[in-house]
Symmetry: C2
């Protein structure tokens, strides 16, 4: 029976292979259609618009100055984060840079331990760039299990008794790759943690803060406010950016944290820049004065939902009756669908897809050191391809999963 | 005689003090008139322009990717630096960030010595931000004398025999603050240095690379090419930016170095950003396709020259007959006039100017640790004020110099 099935799927696989298909769906890139939503941003600003008034001071946004951002940009981010504008620092085009600088500044520079002994907690599966950055900085990564509600708090509590554990990575809303939004209970428990080291930080990468498919921003407990209530005001460092709201690579990033933490970052930044691009900040402020940001996100969401639906429908058609072959969470926002295939089959599935011309995120990338202990998690990134391309891609993917799964059974 | 003179100048000083003058000329900020030269940059790019072809690949500059810049931007910088585009890495809006990252990456991370023992050579007077950054990173700064042709090579040769000396800061063209352009002989000697440590770097901050008042770019020996000839290809790291060509804070920065050095920086950057703002690069490329960059710089130069002339004329009128009171170099470009007042009088002069409402760069800022050993150097930054404001400011300055100088004589 299984051999017959295997032969059938293999035949289908070989047929797909002969089609000369070629598609890269390895990264969470917005599509051109999404980028077109922000076209007006390019030409929205005229010369005269660059002179603004801020606290009774005239600021020429074309000139030097303004180390941590212009006030109207801070206010926009403050609204998104649910904090005061005094708790916001505006960065350049990349929130990843703010994360790197935070990890170095609050973590590595402040610890009593030598760098080689420091550790960081990594809810997994998670965002590969967090893991690559941690490894590059010489931190030992400790995987933390993810539940449907967020990371496993009991595991976290156990590890933070070690003073060499200096932080935890979190993607609290529409997590990368699972699309999980942390429950308020989990956020409350994270806010209340009592880590052994005083310089422990929660690196709260809220990359998908308002990125729901229906345009309704997810309502979650505010980590910074809750931590403050528990006497942990200096623990959270929250990040977000406009990369997946306007233009990736030409957006604006920001962080929110206690004023003490921000003062330290401002000082650090003052030694390496005369300030971020204020003109691009002003472009974003003006654009979102004219366009409601939630309406804008709803348009993104509609484009994305059509693509996610192809992925989810195909998965359902192929595997709803056979949960041993594939499991996934249905996301309500974000950029990814995370699929667990049978243990030991993730690498082989990705390899088979590659043979057909479909590039997926490397298996294991969603775990520290690229090491998925069960070799079962695969991240699908449906945002960039067209709906038609996705239909073929998903046929390829589902066939590859079946071939990989049956190979293992037959080989046994 | 001196007491009579002192009384006269003090009277004049007090009269100026009563005028309610207020002007900040502490930093080298371009004026609004200069910024207006680049107005078209704001709206030059339409949505369709963002898709470019590069090495047979289609690149959507609005999307992720392009870690070290788009090719046409690299080519522009390659032309400015006089290197190949493979030797260029394009950064964000701030060359200071590239310098900081370079100092950490090539200097601190690679040295066999503990950070606390590392030293850096600082031709002085020099750029205060280089010194502040070095101090923040824990480096011990060693001042090197400046001559009319560049830094004192014999001093440099002496210090680089120490393997803890990991680099030297240089502003080779229209140096900050003296406006000195290094002679080819000095550049050749720098290129041929034989430092004791293999990771020694020449940090070549070419901030004013084409910033001559007459629009003619200074012709100087190419450091990278010359160093390569001497087997020192990995020693120079060259920097520049568009900050004082288009918009400070919204320009584009770049570095040029050996491919080995660039590979290392690319790797480093890959952990902390998905790439710099390609849209802003494209704006600059398109703007300078339509506008000859040297004509553009000539317009900057004309605006600046009118202001520098006020400074230089007033200095000549006041001090040409009395070189004991003030000495200066007449710059042909750049952003500063460096004035040496009598030893022990710089701090007092700046303080007197402040009493009248004129903010100058703090005395000492042009030396490591803010410590001008002779307390004689003052940096004047004429670019931002209007010509009329500068006329008053220079009257204030010259009177303050005289009062400060005579105070000392009388107190003796």
């Amino acid at each position: 029976m299984e051999i017959k099935l295997y032969d059938d799927y293999l035949e289908k696989f070989n047929k797909l292979k002969s089609q000369n298909f070629s598609l890269d769906m390895s990264r969470g890139k917005p599509s051109a259609e999404q980028l077109n939503l922000s076209s007006d941003l390019l030409t929205i600003l005229q010369n005269d618009d660059c002179i603004i008034e801020e606290n009774n001071q005239t600021i020429d946004c074309r000139n030097y100055g303004g180390l941590d951002g212009i006030l109207p940009m801070k206010k926009m981010f403050a609204n998104l984060f649910g904090v005061s504008s005094e708790e916001v620092l505006v960065g350049g085009n990349s929130s990843l840079t703010l994360m790197y600088d935070s990890l170095v500044l609050y973590g590595l520079s402040e610890s009593a331990f030598p760098k080689s002994q420091l550790k960081i907690l990594c809810p997994s599966p998670g965002y590969d760039r967090h893991f690559l950055m941690s490894e590059y900085l010489g931190l030992t990564m400790i995987p933390i299990n993810m539940t449907q509600d967020g990371p496993d708090i009991s595991q976290i509590k156990e590890y933070i008794a070690d003073p060499a554990v200096i932080g935890i990575w979190c993607v609290p809303v529409f997590s990368n790759p699972q699309g999980i939004t942390y429950s308020d209970k989990i956020i409350d428990q994270l806010a209340a943690l009592k880590p052994a080291t005083a310089n422990f930080k929660i690196l709260w990468d809220n990359a998908y803060i308002i990125h729901s498919f229906d345009g309704e921003p997810p309502k979650t407990l505010n980590l910074l406010r809750t931590a403050e209530k528990y006497g942990n005001y200096d623990i959270p460092i929250m990040f977000t950016s406009f990369s997946k709201i306007t233009f990736p690579g030409a957006g604006v990033s920001a962080m929110a944290a206690s004023e003490k933490n921000l003062a330290k970052m401002r000082q650090n930044i003052s030694f390496k820049t005369v300030g971020p691009d204020k003109i691009n900040q002003l472009r974003h402020v003006k654009f979102f004065e004219q366009t409601d940001i939630f309406q804008h996100m709803k348009k993104h969401g509609e484009i994305l939902a059509a693509k996610f639906n192809v992925v989810l429908q195909t998965l359902t058609e192929n595997f709803a009756d056979n949960p041993n072959w594939a499991n996934w969470i249905v996301p309500k926002g974000g950029y990814f669908v995370s699929v667990d295939v049978p243990a030991g089959c993730a690498k082989r599935t990705v390899e088979l897809c590659k043979q057909v011309g479909l590039m997926l995120t490397p298996a294991g990338a969603t775990f520290p050191y690229g090491n998925d202990p069960l070799d079962q998690n695969i991240r699908l990134a449906p945002s960039f391809p067209s709906v038609d391309e996705l239909k073929i891609a998903m046929e390829v993917f589902c066939t590859a999963v079946k071939v990989a799964a049956l190979e293992r059974v037959i080989k046994k």
